[in-house]
Amino acid sequence: MDRALKRRLEARFGDRLLGPIRQRHDETEIRVAPGDVPEVMRALHDEPEFRFEALMDLCGVDTGSVMQTVYHLWSETTPDWLRVVADGLSRDDPRVPSVTFLWKGAEWQEREAYDMFGIAFEGNRDLRRIYMPPDYTSFPLRKDFFLPDDAARSPGGGVRHIEQAHAPSNATVDAQVRKAPTS
Amino acid sequence: MDSPSRTFERLTLPGKVIFTLVPILIALLAGLVMAIVLVGPFALDFLSANLPLVRFVVAATVVLLMTVPTAFLIIYMEMKVIALMNLRYGPDRVGPYGSLLSVVHGLKVLMKEDFTPTGADGIVFTWAPVVVYMASVMTLLVLPFAPGIFGVDMNIGLLYFFAMGGLGVVGLLMAGWSSFNKYSLIGGLRSAAQVVSYEIPLTLSVVGIVLLSGTLSLNKITLDQSGSLFDWYVFKQPLAFLIFMIAATAEANRTPFDLTEADSEIVAGFATEYSGMRFGFFFFAEYVNVFIVSGLAVALFMGGWNAPFDWPFPIVAQPDLAGMGVGLLLAIGLIPPLAILLLAMPFYLLNTGLRFWQALVIGFVLFNVVAVAALLGFAFISFDWVVGLLWFLMKTYGFVFLFVWMRGTLPRVRIDQLMGFAWKWLLPAALLNLFVTALAIVLVTTPR
């Protein structure tokens, strides 16, 4: 755990952070509002005290109540992973600015997050589905998506073909919406 | 009384066959005799009046028939040699050491469906393989296999060879254009660009030989190289040989210049949409091309059918068969049975489990082997062309091995490198070679 990094981050982004900086193992986590992502990322990327040059991973998360996009950054200046969580995207219309202006390689990862969660990355030139067919309507990794062949959840429905298109907003489907797994 | 059909049905299978075939054979024989008696003299007159034509027809037939086993042999060779270089065994199931696998491939290709894809230009699509195949078969006509064994001794043989070789491109272009497939189109265009480019250094590289020998006839060029090993043009024209080999590899679309069918880039090039025997024609033409390119290299540079060294023990067996008279008849009548008995005896005496007729069969087989070997040896000693053919084929298959070996080793070049190499390196080198050769000839032959 790199306490110095925590201090630097607090000094630089103190007012922008949503909640305290969490550190566990070799990971440092900051949470920012979606609108702050470009400035924060640019600062982290450019400023010599951070120099997080490499975007190691970009993914979306559906917590069941809100959406998040999670960025993992790497820098030579610290032995920690820096996790930047853009928190609090609405589930109905999740939008977050794209980071392709810094990392061209984020383009496909953002496409994947769009494909799987429906998160719209504003500024991504090529935001279309990447894995699923273009006429697919739902977002599979959302928590309200259920496996269509899940016979345990669809009594009498039997096994349906997995590629069958279905809309989660459909009234008949709503009755079977799967909630987030809880303890 | 049985009806004739009942009688026929009661016969055994061999009986039925004989019963059916014998009348047919008799009828055919009678017809043949009648035909010979009636039109024989006129036909003979006609044939003797047009001997070159007869020679051409026979040669064309032989050449056409020859391509199939040649292609089979080279395909097998390619499979086996590359496999051995890859540390595999290669074909080893069909026939001894898998040698019949290429025959099975041929049969498989014959049996496969021969379809024309939707949108293809049917006529051009159908005739493209024929053009490719005929182009390579027609080149074989002028290749001198041995003294006296060649299709036509054309005085413009070399020119004819390159002209016919260039004709194959037309077929590839036809295939590429008519297939209604972009991969085929790219393959066809690649082959056109490649073959047209490499035609020039290829032709220029042999002009030096033409200057040296003063003829375009392949037969005469080969004759020009008779004598010692150092009369071969490879020693007089080493640069030309190198250029020729590189350009010929490109002409035959072989690795590292097999861009027309680069499977990792454009699937199978011009042959992508072909199946069945049409594809088989392309396949055969490719391997016949390898053979004729090797044959041409041998004829031009490696002395053709000339032996690299003189046979150190000259044996001349010219038995005067006519002088033996009745003795010949006696020999023909007596030698085979006696030899069979002689060869059968050891088996019969040493192996008590063997019946006498079984020993006789073994003896007969052995006698045949010995007799064929003796005949071949006799032919080898007494006929020039057998020796020549043997040497020619040995050298040619040496070159075929070289092509296969290159395929097993080298990666493919890129299209711009390919074209750049032809125009920037091979063409100037060929011109330089031509210039130096001409200069040398002028210097040597000018009287001082």
């Binding site: 566990r24 193992h25 070799d26 990971e27 986590e29 040059e53 490499a54 190691m56 991973d57 559906d62 993992h72 790497w74 030579e76 032995p79 992973w81 810094l102 990392w103 061209k104 390689g105 496909w108 990862q109 090529d126 279309r128 589905r129 894995y131 699923m132 067919p133 599979p140 990794l141 998506f145 496996l147 987030a180 797994p181 809880t182 303890s183 | 590359i82 540390l87 939707t118 949108g119 293809a120 230009d121 008519s178 209604f180 972009k182 189109l185 790219i186 590292p256 097999d258 499977d263 990792s264 699937v267 395929r407 080793t409 990666p411 493919r412 070049v413 890129r414 299209i415 711009d416 490198q417």
Partner: protein
């Protein structure tokens, strides 16, 4: 060709040539729906003399079921658009519905060439979630088997590289190399390809006699065998001329494209997770991180060759330093880590294999993100290829070494 294939369908719908193309039912790469993004509209509009060519998903050299739509002008590639999803299995969703142990069996076949690294990343992430201390012997065994798998993967890379450039022989020699390693790993893990060997808190089985004897026999000849095979390609003029200066990536571009692994090390960045974020017992081991400055296809190829030598060094040290002890940590039978998040990355043969796992306190991961390097690297193909020839597309794609199983997840 009967119909002009170079016509774009957007051009005009009453064009007879377009109608013919539709009538004969020939597959056209132009999607039948209006363009969804700016980039798609730009790509699927043809310029003068350009045409589309559809490569894959059944193409000999797309390393699996990748489909690439090439926009070409003669032999020159103007632009390309990779189309993914032909091998998509939804592993992340499946992992959310499986408990922690079961996810290993799902992540295993993601990238079938280097399956151990796909197990390693999630296992490490779960260990972080559970705060498990892995026994040192288990860590050494993981490093040992992982490096063996890395060599097998790089051996295959060399063969594929040559095959995509038209050489027939190296791929079979590579498979000989790989076969020996894979047989070795089969005697250790029980399977040849999808090992399913790492467990949360350790490994499935201890080293056994058969594995050790096979490893010893292989180690005695490995270096000489690999070097002998390299002579075929490394000095080959055709090979070197095709690879040198092709698809050059400089340091900044490599970072911008989120490259990891050998691909970024070929651009002169010594970014190796084994040193940048040390995990397992790598801090105790001595090895170098080979880098090259050129950043072209040849550099990417040579960096991998150098890595093989370093891996042999690591294996040698592992065998010498291997401590005795247990191979599994003591864990409850059913895992319910406390709510939290963990990110773990390992350095695989293609780059960073990472897993971001979120636990909500149940026996199943709430969210499991699997990061695969092939996926990130594949998008560089479009950038590196435009302006080069069709044949270069294969060379660049092969030098980036994507495995479609990992790309499509």
């Amino acid at each position: 060709m009967s119909a002009d294939l170079t016509t774009a369908r957007h051009a005009s719908s009453d064009d007879p040539r377009v109608m013919l193309e539709e009538a004969v039912g020939v597959f056209a790469p132009i999607p039948p729906y209006p363009p969804r993004t700016e980039r798609e509209a730009e790509f699927y509009t043809l310029g003068d003399g350009e045409m589309f060519i559809n490569m894959g998903p059944q193409h000999p050299s797309t390393h699996g079921v990748l489909r690439v739509v090439l926009k070409i002008e003669g032999e020159r590639v103007v632009d390309l658009d990779p189309v993914l999803g032909y091998l998509h299995r939804g592993v992340e969703k499946l992992c959310e519905n499986a408990d922690y142990h079961h996810t290993i069996a799902y992540t295993d076949p993601l990238e079938y060439v280097s399956a151990l690294f796909n197990e390693w990343a999630p296992v490490m992430a779960f260990e972080k979630l559970m705060d498990v201390e892995v026994p040192r012997r288990a860590e050494y065994i993981r490093v040992l088997s992982g490096e063996l798998n890395r060599i097998a993967s790089h051996a295959l890379f060399m063969g594929w590289m040559a095959l995509d450039l038209g050489g027939l022989t190296p791929i079979l020699w590579s498979f000989i190399e790989r076969d020996e390693i894979v047989d070795m790993l089969a005697s250790l893990t029980g399977q040849r390809m999808l090992f399913n060997y790492f467990r949360i808190g350790g490994v499935n089985g201890d080293l056994n006699h058969e594995f050790m004897s096979r490893l010893g026999a292989w180690m005695s000849k490995a270096t000489s065998q690999i070097e002998a095979n390299q002579a075929l390609l490394n000095e080959n003029e055709i090979f070197v001329r095709r690879m040198r200066g092709l698809g050059t990536l400089d340091r900044e571009a490599a970072f911008r494209l989120c490259m990891t692994g050998p691909n970024i090390r070929a651009s002169g960045v010594p970014l190796d997770m084994r040193r940048a974020h040390p995990y397992s017992v790598y801090p105790d081991l001595e090895f170098d991180i080979p880098t090259r400055q050129e950043g072209d296809c040849l550099a990417r190829y040579l960096v991998r060759l150098d890595e093989v030598k370093q891996s042999i060094r690591i294996i040698d040290q592992c065998l010498h330093d291997m401590p005795d002890g247990p191979i599994m940590a003591k864990l409850p039978r059913l895992m319910r880590p406390r709510p939290g998040r963990a990110y773990a990355a390992v350095e695989g043969p293609r780059g960073q294999y990472a897993t971001y796992a979120i636990s909500d306190g149940t026996d199943q991961p709430f969210r499991m993100r699997i990061h695969d390097p092939s996926f990130v690297h594949l998008q560089a193909v479009g950038l590196l290829t435009s302006g080069n020839l069709i044949a270069d597309t294969m060379a660049i794609m092969a030098s980036l070494d994507p495995i479609m199983g990992g790309v499509d997840k």
